[in-house]
């Protein structure tokens, strides 16, 4: 089975092939390919829906606990989004990401400040334990939000004049 890295290559290759078809003189080439993919996705989505029903419903072998584990998996979670099968709404998905990030920085701060559904934007507070916003941490958060909430086109990281650092430790040398 391919790993997540190889899968990114697959995604890129699909995009390359679609662009190639799009550059052909007959515009229907790309349209046909996209329709084909959509139809295959519809079939797979229908199958995936049955899998969830059979495995994750109340009283099913895995039950809701299995669904939780599946939602924690980046790949499965993205797949559910593609097929409109993700059980959580936009806000819940964003909050789930922030809860995960927050748990990873116990003395820092990661929380949702604002979700603007009309303009597809979120504003979040993100602070490392030392009160800074490390670029790597911000990039990771943006990537996670984009994966979990593809509807969002902009992630604004709030850096207020007086940051909320209630649980901040004493300054680290």
């Amino acid at each position: 089975m391919t790993g997540q890295g190889d899968l990114s290559d697959v995604g890129r290759r699909i995009e390359e092939l679609l662009d190639l078809l799009g550059s052909m003189p007959d515009r229907r080439a790309r349209q046909c390919a996209e329709e084909l993919l959509r139809l295959v996705l519809d079939l797979y989505g229908a199958g995936l829906e049955r899998v969830l029903e059979l495995g994750c419903a109340e009283g099913a072998p895995g039950g809701p606990a299995l669904l939780e584990r599946l939602l924690d998996d980046e790949l499965v979670s993205s797949l559910l989004l593609v097929s409109d099968l993700h059980p959580l709404g936009l806000r819940a998905r964003v909050e789930r990401v922030l809860a995960g990030v927050s748990a990873a920085i116990p003395d820092g701060d990661a929380r949702l400040l604002e979700l603007d559904e009309e303009h597809h934007m979120v504003r979040v507070r993100l602070l490392a334990p030392d009160g800074t916003v490390p670029e790597a941490m911000a990039a990771r958060l943006r990537k996670l939000v984009e994966q979990a909430a593809p509807e969002i086109v902009a992630v604004e990281i709030d850096r207020p004049g007086t940051p909320v650092r209630l649980r901040r430790k004493e300054a680290v040398p």
Partner: protein
């Protein structure tokens, strides 16, 4: 490290492909992205334009350009002058009995219940487009069909190339045809694209269509296609 104090919030542009995960491409195909429109601008002078701005058709790229009032005036009243940028007129006409018959519609071989047809002056032929999950899908008209239709409906000869369209709505309940500004057609197709679900568009897309045609019937004049189309000041 970035100092938190006094640093304004930072907004990221959408990340480059690959960063959004391997399935992003499939997601886009199933549901093309909705771009936010925080204040559209004039494509000619970059002035901020109101929601109900005018449009020009760029005959070379076949794109619609948003334009502000003053820029729209520059191109108004030019007619089919062979220039690259053409103003979209503001004519809404319900064709009534002059519209397409169900038999003529069947001849177009369109797989859904609506389509818009317009003369592409660059290609020198008539194009039919219909809505779908990926936006407007172009359909090749069977050879000679359009010529037969125009011969039977003289009114269609007055359709202004590139900027006006014949919008046909043909299902069990409605058989109607309108002459409309072409930007209205692309706007409709754009809306339907964001609502499209499943094989036939689904209930939200149907509801949007019902509302759209109610508005169109209220707005359109019922008269033969003839005479000068007023310059556009309507919805953008």
């Amino acid at each position: 490290m970035t100092p938190p104090e006094g640093d304004p919030g930072v907004t990221t542009p959408p990340t480059a492909a690959g960063d959004e995960g391997p399935l992003a491409v499939l997601r886009r195909i199933r549901r093309p992205p909705v771009r936010p429109r925080p204040g559209e601008r004039c494509d000619l002078c970059d002035e901020v334009v109101p929601d109900d701005h005018s449009h020009l058709v760029d005959l070379q790229s076949r794109r619609l350009l948003c334009v502000c009032g003053p820029c729209a005036l520059l191109f108004a009243g030019e007619g089919a002058g062979g220039r690259r940028l053409r103003a979209v007129p503001d004519r809404y006409v319900e064709l009534g009995a002059e519209g397409l018959s169900p038999a003529e519609w069947d001849g177009l071989e369109i797989p859904v219940s609506i389509a818009f047809l317009f003369v592409n002056s660059t290609l020198g032929r008539t194009i039919a487009c219909y809505p779908g999950p990926a936006g407007a899908t172009e359909s090749m008209l069977p050879l000679g069909t359009w010529e037969d239709i125009v011969a039977a409906h003289g009114a269609l000869d007055a359709l202004e190339p590139d900027v006006e369209a014949l919008l046909v709505h043909m299902d069990r309940a409605c058989q109607e045809s309108f002459v409309v500004p072409i930007d209205v057609c692309y706007e409709l197709v754009g809306h339907l694209r964001t609502l499209w679900h499943g094989f036939d568009g689904g209930e939200p897309a149907r509801r949007h269509l019902d509302g759209f045609f109610d508005d169109l019937r209220a707005r359109a004049t019922v008269r033969p296609v003839a005479g000068e189309g007023a310059r556009r000041v309507g919805n953008g």
